[in-house]
Amino acid sequence: MTTMNDGLNTQTWLDEHGDYLFSYALLRVKDTHVAEDLVQETLLAAVTARNTFSNQSTVRTWLTGILKHKLIDHFRRQGREIVIADLIDQNEDDHLDRFFEANGRWIEKPEAFPDPESAFQQKQFWKVFQDCLSGLKPRQAEVFLAKEIHGMSNEEICKHFSLNPTNVWVLMHRARLSLHKCLKIHWID
């Protein structure tokens, strides 16, 4: 991934960031066509506004910011009230006491999952997996998506989301705990 100053070569935006923007939008709207339209709207808006791009942020960060506004417009059109804070929540009130006792012990002890390979063969599993990803807190979802699906390094993630390494460890830990719990509830049980 090119991050810094990959210029304003608008032609490459689609190649380099299209899938990233698409997956981000898809997990929010859960509709392929709507997500495609949002990517298109985002890139068109970006072309128009390219002079406002500042080198302080990466192209991907900047494009994602535009996409968030497009998402908010989209939800408003649907009559759903959503404020930008819902997409950008900086301090998520997601305490680890959902998972751990005060003394640091598991509230619900993780058990061994059944055969992963057989899960991957089942359509139902992927449906649940997508729903669980969509259900993550926005910040966790973004970081998890960037890391595990788009293969961004911790360093790139820090830069992209303006986080320090500790934030990233904590967000990844919470995302993994939440996903694990969600899969257990909706797929295993």
Partner: protein
Amino acid sequence: MLNCKQASLLASRAMDEKLPYWKNSLLKLHLLLCRSCANFTRQMAFLREASRRYGNSRDLRLTGDARKRILNALKRHEIDEQP
């Protein structure tokens, strides 16, 4: 000794980077003694593999058609914008 909350955080971090030596040793010891955290560690690997496959599936990528459509829209838009 680490508790499970600390150990699971370290185990998660260890998925993404090499831990400092002594932290890694503490984690290894905990995982040896704690089945729950060992299970959670395996499940994180499972989540990683699931994410990798999910990311490689067509579901999470723009289709060729969508790409073409967007590219055309971009080209039209750029032509319109030219003075």
